[in-house]
Amino acid sequence: MTYNPTRFVTGRIVRNEGRGEIFYRIEATIPEPLRFVPGQFAMVSGWPGNDPLLPRPLAVFRSGGTRGKGKIEFVYKVVGRGTALLSGLHPGETLSITLPLGRGFDLEQAGRTYWLVGGGVGFSSVFPAAALLGRRRNGFEMFLGARTRDHLPPKEWTPGGKAPGRTHFCTEDGTAGYHGRVTDAVLERMRELSPEAASRLTILACGPKEMLKEISTETLKRGIPAQVALENHMACGFGVCWGCVVTLWEGDRTAYRRVCRDGPVFDAREVVW
């Protein structure tokens, strides 16, 4: 794996646009291009003053650029004060960004078929995984769940191109794609698999806790490996404050581990729900 040293940089906003009032996409230039593992994240701030005081964790959505001129993108949903302030920033204004952070998805196992499951804004860390697998021509399927059609990620954000992937859109109200919860769509599709195909399957998931919990329970029952991206409130994002811990199994005991450093992606078997 490539070595991606963490850095603290100033980003200059190029674009910050809302889509359907639900998701925003912010693009900024940074000093150097970034290599990251899908599922890794950044701590982002940019609003003036001390309220909110702490930066906000956002998954790295895309990176690019050339030597001496990097580019970085995040997608986010406005849920509170920090994200609301972020949505009010304009091109030309600056962001403070610490990145890349955490342990991303393990996409390095040979001979696996990956199913990527994103609930709500969870697509933000699932899309980079899809893009990477697509580039490698590694087989995958993607399941995206939302309450309604308007809560699904815009089609043009979906990594496409020549990727050998297949995307299942799911809405709880049936306004688009599969009518029902994304976890049900995943389970239905699983039943169609031959035992041989199922044995090659690895599931990666990011989304609301309930969704991750169900994915974990169901994959565990079937012996399918799963990696889940957890969230928690964070202060530092790089492992020094010990504020973001979750409870994990270590053998037959439990321990508190940091989402920002030991995760955010964990083996589903480790998580104490």
């Binding site: 001390n50 409130h233 020094v240 404050c241 010990w242």
Partner: protein
């Protein structure tokens, strides 16, 4: 122009500048190496160490509040043995001046941790956390009264020859009395303030927001309280005072020096800006240059009280 002399002696530990990291916000120091060379700091104060590794409090450990945050980490740490075995050699390699912050549930535990650390030649000083609000026993109980502080300080004093700093709790009525008690019992310096006990609840779920219910408030919200207490402590004692609380900029740090602090520690500011400590250091150097102040000693404690507004 000549480089201003920022060096200062902190109770037997001579540091090259007065900007230090605050315990619990800086990990074991090495975590900051991707951002800058930590040996540039006056000293690195590491996360509170106990005798055995400590698991800390259950999740639900932090919550943001207006211009600050509450934490109830519960002193999760790797324990003194692993610190000495794994971390110390790496801190030595990077050439950092480092200080161990310690705590115990009992006087005996404080003493045992101090004894073990005294065997580490490269350790700059021991800072006794006499004030953690997030553990049920220990800390707070010792830190709340002059008698408790004197007993704890005396006990640790007898177990170590290292420079001994005692970190004071703001959750007391008379900080000057507490500072005097630490000085009288043999402390080489005091540092203050630790976090202020606070609480946050959710009016909809009707629940506390921290698993521990109460937690310690830090960040810019506490700066005025910290500044006042630093000033009161500095007037009351002769040993050096290290000012802590809500410092985010060089100007903030200079204010603490002005009211009598010999040095400062920077805590919560490191979370939003991992380079906060060096930014503050560079800002301070620039200020002294601009104002043509040759040495820290010429500025420190220079608060003008005549004709106050």
């Amino acid at each position: 122009m000549v480089t201003p002399d920022l060096s200062v002696s902190l109770g037997g530990l001579k540091v090259k500048n007065p900007v230090l990291s605050a315990s619990g916000t800086f990990g074991y120091g090495l975590e900051y190496m991707p951002f800058y060379d930590i040996s540039r700091l006056g000293a690195v104060v590491v996360k509170g160490l106990s005798l055995a590794p400590t698991p800390g409090n259950p999740p639900g450990r932090i919550v943001e509040t207006a211009a600050g945050m509450l934490n109830a980490i519960g002193l999760q740490n790797i324990g003194v043995e692993r610190f000495v075995g794994d971390v110390v050699p790496r801190l030595e390699d990077v050439g950092a001046t480092f200080v161990a912050n310690i705590y115990g549930k009992t006087m005996e535990e404080y003493e045992a941790v101090a004894l073990r650390l005294s065997e580490v030649p490269s350790l700059g000083a021991i800072e006794v956390n006499a004030s953690c609000p997030n553990v049920r026993e220990g800390g707070m109980a010792f830190g709340a009264t002059p008698g408790g502080i004197a007993a704890l300080t005396g006990r640790v004093r007898r177990s170590t020859g290292k420079p001994l700093w005692v970190k004071l709790s703001p959750n007391v009525t008379d900080i000057a009395g507490i500072a005097r008690a630490a000085e009288g019992a043999g402390a080489d310096a005091v540092s203050l303030i630790n976090t202020i006990v606070g609480m946050a609840v959710d009016h909809r779920t009707r629940r506390p927001q921290l698993s521990n219910v109460t937690g310690g408030l830090s960040g810019p919200a506490i700066k005025p309280v910290a500044l006042r207490m630093t000033w009161e402590a500095a007037k009351a004692i002769k040993i050096p005072v290290i000012g802590i609380g809500g410092i985010q900029s060089a100007a903030d740090a200079l204010e603490f020096l002005l009211v009598g602090a010999s040095a400062v520690q920077v805590g919560t500011a490191n979370f939003r800006n991992p380079r906060a400590c060096v930014d503050i250091l560079e800002g301070m150097e620039a200020f002294f240059r601009e104002e043509r102040i040759a040495a820290l000693a010429d500025y420190r404690g220079g608060l003008r009280m005549e004709n106050s507004p």
